[in-house]
């Protein structure tokens, strides 16, 4: 019998067969593993990724200067401040988001290894991207989505993504709320023998490096210098990891990499009730914080997305602010995109004001929009569930209870996330995973790289934790 505990116990075996990667050979201890070796040996080089993506019309998207939003940011900024705001129009990819970059590599890898089809467990744009790439390469495709609550009410944004998967010929398995989506995913992998098109394999992350590389080279060519800051909507960590690695490969060592999430604090992601009381299905703190503080919670043994290694700064914005800038992008720039991709755009209007006028700040993605994905769809759905929608100070909004759109652009605000706090949260989980075994020198070195702090920081945290537990 394929019971829940029985199937979960076989998870590593099933995952190994479905991605064809022996992760164990990169292990350097209980926790430590050689991340860079994994990326180099299993991933693809930048030139090869570019060639693979070009073969399926993925990447090389336009970089658009947002002149009117830059004017707006300058009106709000101190004199001489207000960097030029640029937008990387990832909606120009075949299925309408940057996720095509990841899916192109997964599909190429699956095809090369001789798999008949591929499966992805995702409620996001990645499903549509996998379905699109599967169609282009003649592979079968199944997308498993978490979409309904127990009353059968589906998030309009997720329903739209399911429709898009079907449009590309994929089978969509729709589930109700719960982390056991992963269990169904394992059952489907066992039943079909398809490839696991995980978002978190080394090649899926290598697929995003081209995005960072293009941003770096396009800005340097158009502005004459590297971007001062690149703003990345952050959820599972792949976007920031791949983008930051690509920027480094483009020589943009001084560029600040800023993660941005919608603040959904207080809402439980696995709650049947809370599930539909959020109006953003990705790019929010419900993914952003747990994936930063423990990346290896995914559908492969080692997550190639390690966001804490790459964040220079992490800020949050509110749902109402993202809907507000989505309107601003449509009505001031003539670009109807998002809304989830506009999370970092909300932050850009504030962050541009921190840099001089001759610098460039980049919002590194957009996504396609339409029925189900529009602010009007999401807010109609929210109102129907009793969430209050009003104008006012967005700082007064409470996730799940109210959505407040600003009355004035000067009300756009950022909340800084304490990166040291996230580092401590990561280390707490790491120490628990060690189960009392001593922290050797190589593990300290690995953890310091993971949380982007000094080895002393790691040792001090471990020693304080040991004293507290006595």
């Amino acid at each position: 019998m394929r019971s829940y505990p029985g199937t979960m116990a076989r998870r590593n075996e099933i995952m190994m067969a479905s991605v064809g990667i022996d992760y164990q050979r990169f292990n350097e201890g209980i926790l430590a593993f050689n991340y860079e070796a994994m990326m180099e040996e299993v991933g693809y080089g930048l030139e090869e990724v570019t060639r693979i993506q070009k073969g399926v019309s993925v990447g090389n998207t336009p970089l658009i200067e947002l002149r009117n939003l830059t004017r707006l940011a300058r009106r709000l900024a101190p004199p001489g401040k207000g960097a030029r705001i640029f937008l990387k129009d990832e909606a120009a990819n075949p299925s309408g988001s940057f996720k095509d970059r990841r899916a192109a590599l997964s599909a190429y890898h699956a095809k090369t290894l001789g798999y008949k089809g591929m499966i992805a467990a995702t409620s996001g744009n990645y499903g549509a991207a996998v379905a699109s790439q599967a169609a282009a390469l003649g592979l079968e495709c199944i997308v498993a989505q978490e979409v309904y609550d127990s009353q059968g009410r589906g998030q309009p944004e997720i329903l739209e993504k399911g429709r898009k998967c079907e449009a590309y010929g994929a089978e969509v398995v729709q589930l109700t709320v719960g982390p056991e989506l992963f269990y169904v995913f394992l059952l489907l992998l066992e039943e079909t023998g398809y490839f696991n098109a995980s978002l978190y394999t080394p090649f899926a992350i290598a697929g995003i490096e081209t995005l960072g590389y293009e941003v770096g080279t396009q800005v340097t060519s158009q502005v004459g210098r590297p971007p001062a800051a690149v703003l990345v909507t952050h959820a599972g960590g792949g976007n920031i990891t791949g983008t930051a690695r690509g920027l480094r490969k483009a020589g943009c060592q001084s560029t600040h990499v800023v993660a941005v999430s919608v603040d959904l604090s207080g809402l439980h992601m696995a709650s049947d009730r809370d599930f539909n009381r959020k109006s953003f299905t990705t790019g929010h703190t419900g993914f952003g914080v747990p994936f930063a503080t423990w990346p290896d919670r995914v559908d492969v043994p080692r997550n190639a997305a390690r966001p804490l290694r790459y964040m220079d700064r992490y800020v949050t914005v509110s749902q109402g602010e993202v809907f507000y800038v989505t309107e601003a992008l449509s009505q001031l720039e003539g670009l109807e995109r998002g809304p989830a991709g506009n999370t970092s755009l909300a932050a850009a209007l504030v962050i541009a004001g921190e840099y001089p006028e001759d610098e460039a700040v980049v919002v590194q993605e957009t996504e396609y929009t339409g029925a189900g994905k529009l602010p009007s769809s999401q807010l109609s759905f929210a109102r129907g569930l009793g969430v209050k929608v009003r104008r006012g100070d967005p700082g007064e909004s409470i996730p799940g209870q109210s959505i407040v759109t600003p009355e004035h652009p000067g009300q756009l605000r950022l909340t800084e996330v304490d990166l040291e706090g996230l580092a401590r949260s990561y280390l707490r989980k790491a120490l628990a995973a060690l189960e009392g075994k001593s922290l050797d020198a190589s593990t300290v070195c690995f953890l310091a790289q993971e949380v982007r702090q000094s080895e002393d920081f790691v040792r001090e945290f471990a020693s304080v934790s040991a004293q507290e537990s006595r």
Binding site: Y4, L72, P156, A170, V172, Y183, S271
Partner: protein, 100 residues
């Protein structure tokens, strides 16, 4: 109502009953089953609301209660939202004049 074999339909099945849910799920989720909905072509003539078997677009067989015939997408563009309607004009007024 009887539905003919070969019709495009949706079935719904319980994957995990309330007692079988993952240990870490919050109480409101633990109280309800994990359900799955899948679309496919009906393999044999079946009464609505009865157990049915379908062939999905990948050729998989899936079983569940027959709950919809020729299901279609009903999500839309949403209603008029007064809290959004005036943002564009307000911002244009705030910027004033022609774009530089």
């Amino acid at each position: 109502m009887k539905v003919k074999a070969g019709t495009w339909v949706q079935v719904r099945a319980t994957v995990l009953s309330p007692g079988e849910r993952a240990p870490a799920v919050p109480p409101d989720t633990a109280r309800v089953p994990l359900e799955m909905r899948v679309k496919g072509f009906l393999l044999e003539e079946t009464e609505m609301g009865k157990e049915a078997c379908v062939s999905t677009v990948t050729g998989r067989r899936a079983r569940g209660t027959l709950e919809a015939v020729e299901p279609w997408h009903t999500h839309g563009f949403g209603e008029a939202i007064p809290e959004l309607l005036t943002i564009g004009p307000e911002l244009r007024k705030f910027l004033g004049g022609d774009p530089s």
